[in-house]
């Protein structure tokens, strides 16, 4: 009785029609029965497996724990202002080399007071974190020291935008040192909620933190039900068993429209939870061959295939619309736009048909296996000798990290919109993509050292331009986060701490 993903998908497609008919028969929706009880149930599509955010970078974890349970030193708001978090105030020296944080007199959810030692421990843990997004914020940090019982001073060897922004993201999350041993199942923090229980593949249960330093949240009890099957998640929402699916994945868009759920529920789109989808073309291939391959990537066909133009934008920039250096696809921002005839001519002229190429299709991630259905036939139609190889993510990672030249010539991936992940001082430190560019890395370093926001933006645009012209990391679309909410559930705010969905602003 093992799952056969192909027949499973086929069955789900068939079910869409049945679901639409049954949905049409359903009467007007009643308000959630949980509204009067001060409760709320959300749906998660993935099980985090571990809640240790110091070691894991999985979105399934970062959606729920940061901001709700564990807070950063500061919060970066969408209007550009900065609000206090665990730090109640801070000062930054004029040369942007010394940051002094005054820690608020607060308690963790386990009742223990927040100490400067806890803050120093947390920052040092993130500095040593194997998760690059966490540790990269500390590259310029030369010391973290206690000034007094409420003050921490951090000294930088050079100005760093990444450091300051990191203090409002997962890199700046503060935990009690004494509870670090149980972080994988019970992370502790100062947030408005505390974790009551985590049962893998089942649910995360939260309740309001009675020790929270701020205003108590409107909804006291929150359950995040882990429903990995998308149709089952939509069924639960339609049946009123859950109140929101705050992150809808691309494989469900067609079904939710067919069932009319975009009309009976409040739909929000927001870029923070989104991800860029991009092709990775082997950098060891000839640059002209890479550019020819890039011209076979039909962004519009990919976008159309899911009928979700409201959920994704075509782009040639490795960024999301909430990042200021983002640009939608245009003749100016796309050095290698889709042009099958040009690709065919190049294949014929350069004899690329004789070069065997391997397209790795990540079989266990629907968003990433589906593009192959469009991309591979297009490449073959252009004359490339491409074969498709299905592989799961864990195996792919192992092969990539074996230290030999990557055996995959093209892969479509999606992930964090952090451009720093492609920084590569030398080839020995290349990340899984194998992309390594001195110019790109320098542009990012220059941006990091920028003293003003204007300089930072200009330098990030320069870096994005280098990346797109190298035709190794080739952006295809920027997927926005899409969520469905019970109409009476109000107050949703776009994430402030990385991708975290904040429960506290939500109310009935």
């Amino acid at each position: 009785m093992l799952t056969n993903s192909k027949s499973f998908r086929l069955g789900l497609a068939t079910l869409t029609a049945a679901a639409a008919i049954l949905a049409a028969m359903t009467g007007a929706m009643a308000a959630s029965p949980r509204a009067d009880e001060g409760k709320m149930i959300l749906v998660a599509r993935q099980d985090p497996g571990t809640l240790d955010y110091t070691k894991s970078n999985l979105t399934a974890l970062r959606l729920w724990i940061p901001a709700n349970v564990v807070e950063p030193l500061v919060y970066f708001n969408h209007d550009g202002s900065v609000s206090p978090g665990v730090a109640e105030s801070w000062t930054i020296s004029d040369d942007k080399l010394t940051y002094t944080f005054v820690i608020r007199e607060a308690k963790f959810s386990n009742g223990e007071p927040v100490t400067v030692e806890d803050v120093i421990y947390s920052l040092n843990t993130m500095r040593e974190s194997p998760v690059s997004q966490n540790s990269s914020a500390y590259q310029a940090v030369s010391s973290i020291e206690k000034v007094d019982d409420r003050t921490v001073r951090i000294t930088l060897s050079r100005p760093s935008q990444n450091f300051w922004r990191g203090m409002g993201s997962t890199a700046g999350l503060i935990q009690p040192e004494a509870a670090a041993g149980t972080i994988a199942t019970n992370p502790i923090g100062t947030g408005p909620y505390k974790l009551v229980s985590y049962t893998s593949n089942s649910a995360l249960e939260f309740t309001a933190n009675e020790n929270y330093w701020g205003e108590a949240p409107a909804i006291k009890d929150v359950t995040v039900r882990i429903i990995t099957d998308g149709t089952a998640g939509l069924n639960a929402l339609e049946a009123g068993e859950v109140d929101t699916i705050p992150v809808i994945t691309i494989d469900l868009w067609e079904q939710l429209i067919a069932r009319g759920l975009d009309k009976s529920f409040t739909m929000v789109t927001y870029p923070q939870i989104g991800e860029p989808t991009y092709a990775v073309i082997n950098q060891k291939l000839d640059p002209e061959l890479r550019q020819a391959l890039a011209t076979t990537l039909d962004r519009q066909a990919y976008n159309d295939a899911f009928g979700a133009s409201w959920g994704a934008e075509n782009t040639c920039t490795f960024a999301l619309p909430n990042q200021p250096w983002y640009e939608p696809a245009s003749p100016e921002s796309c050095p290698y736009p889709y042009d099958i005839e040009k690709a065919m001519a190049l294949v014929a002229e350069k004899g690329y048909a004789s070069i065997p190429l391997e397209y790795a299709s990540l079989s266990d991630v629907p968003d990433l296996s589906l593009p192959a259905d469009i991309m591979v036939p297009t490449m073959q139609a252009a004359g490339f000798n491409v074969t498709r190889n299905a592989i799961d993510l864990a195996r792919y990672s192992q092969l990539i990290f074996q230290g030999r030249p990557p055996q995959f010539d093209v892969t479509v991936m999606s992930g964090d919109a952090d451009p720093a992940q492609w920084a590569c001082p030398d080839e020995s430190q290349a990340s899984w993509s194998t992309y390594c560019s001195v110019d790109y890395t320098q542009a990012l370093a220059d941006a990091d050292e920028a003293l003003t926001d204007e300089d930072y933006l200009a330098l990030m645009k320069k870096a994005a331009d280098i990346l797109r012209k190298d035709a190794v990391i080739v952006p295809i679309i920027a997927k926005k986060g899409v969520g469905l909410f019970e109409p009476d559930l109000k107050g949703f705010l776009e994430p402030r701490v990385a991708v975290a969905i904040e429960f506290a602003p939500l109310h009935w």
Partner: protein, 315 residues
């Protein structure tokens, strides 16, 4: 009989050792490691290797095997790399869902299959008998996930009588837990019932054509009396084999039902841990299942000897 049992036990032990080696190599043969999964797509090779070292995954395979098997023999199933939770605790918590699901599904399946299969065999020349046979064929052809989702849509979304999915712990609400299991059990029971009906029908048809049944009928017994008095014990042999195999398949094979109804059972736990390359969790859990399946097979084998004396005499 003692020699027969001793031979079966020796085979059981050898099979368990072979299975332990096979599962150890298979999960590693799949490639990848838990460190890479935990750290995500954008981790560096250096970070992955460091975390793998912390987990002890850099040790030689032989050392890892004997470390695991040594602890297993002492009753220590190990711990999850990611959460440090005890595998024994994880398995026990998941069995509290999987066992009621599988047992209830199988019982429901048998409750459907035994009367339906017997009826369609005894009255195969009647329209109702043919209809039962046809329905069992249709039931076999229906994918279990399709049946599950349709039941969920009808009884959960449309009628609102039962939850569409999810799990309420036994200690939180007994009736909540029972309600969580109703639709999964019905889905499983219907599909199992359909396939078991075919086996029951075939087994009953076989015995009803035997000389001893004909002789019994010649003494004046009705079809039903002949079946119950002389045919049933013989018909039970192939049915016991199939039921034994079904139990074995169910314990680790309800992944589709558990996924459709979002039940955190043993099958989903194994699947998730295979994807995460939690080798200790997978090895220990699968070993438990293998031992359980082999025990079931051993019991079925021994039961053959009881049900049919010719079996133990022949061996």
């Amino acid at each position: 009989m003692p020699i027969y049992i001793a031979r079966k036990l020796a085979f059981f032990i050898l099979a368990v050792i072979a299975a332990s080696i096979a599962i150890f190599l298979l999960i590693r043969g799949a490639g990848g490691n838990v460190a890479a999964v935990v750290l995500g797509k954008d981790a560096t090779a250096e970070a992955i290797n460091a975390l793998a070292q912390q987990y002890g995954l850099d040790r030689p395979m032989v050392v890892q095997y004997f470390d695991w098997i040594g602890k297993l023999l002492q009753g220590d199933l190990g711990r999850s790399f990611r959460t440090n939770e005890s595998v024994a605790d994880l398995v026990v918590s998941r069995l509290s869902i999987s066992i009621p699901l599988c047992v209830s599904g199988l019982v429901l399946g048998l409750l459907i299959a035994i009367p339906a299969g017997t009826y369609s065999a005894l009255y195969s020349d009647r329209p109702l008998g043919a209809l039962v046979a046809l329905l069992s064929q249709v039931g076999i052809a229906v994918p279990v996930f399709w049946a599950g989702i349709l039941l969920s849509l009808l009884f959960g979304v449309r009628l609102g009588w039962l939850p569409t999915g999810g799990w309420t712990n036994w200690d939180a609400s007994f009736w909540g837990a029972v309600r969580s299991l109703v639709l999964p059990v019905i889905s499983l029971g219907l599909i199992l019932g359909a396939s078991l009906t075919r086996y029951v029908r075939s087994a009953v048809l076989d015995v009803m054509n035997q000389d001893y049944v004909r002789t019994a009928r010649a003494t004046g017994m009705t079809q039903m009396q002949a079946l119950l008095q002389v045919g049933l014990r013989n018909a039970a042999l192939p049915i016991a084999t199939v039921v034994g195999l079904q139990i074995a398949e169910l314990i680790g094979g309800t992944v589709i039902i558990e996924t459709v109804f979002s039940l955190p059972g043993l099958s989903r736990m194994i699947l998730a841990n295979v994807a995460a390359r939690e080798v200790i969790v997978v090895q220990s859990t699968v070993m438990l299942i293998i031992i359980f399946v082999m025990l079931i097979n051993l019991i079925v084998d021994l039961l053959y000897g009881v049900l049919d004396p010719r079996v133990r005499l022949a061996r």
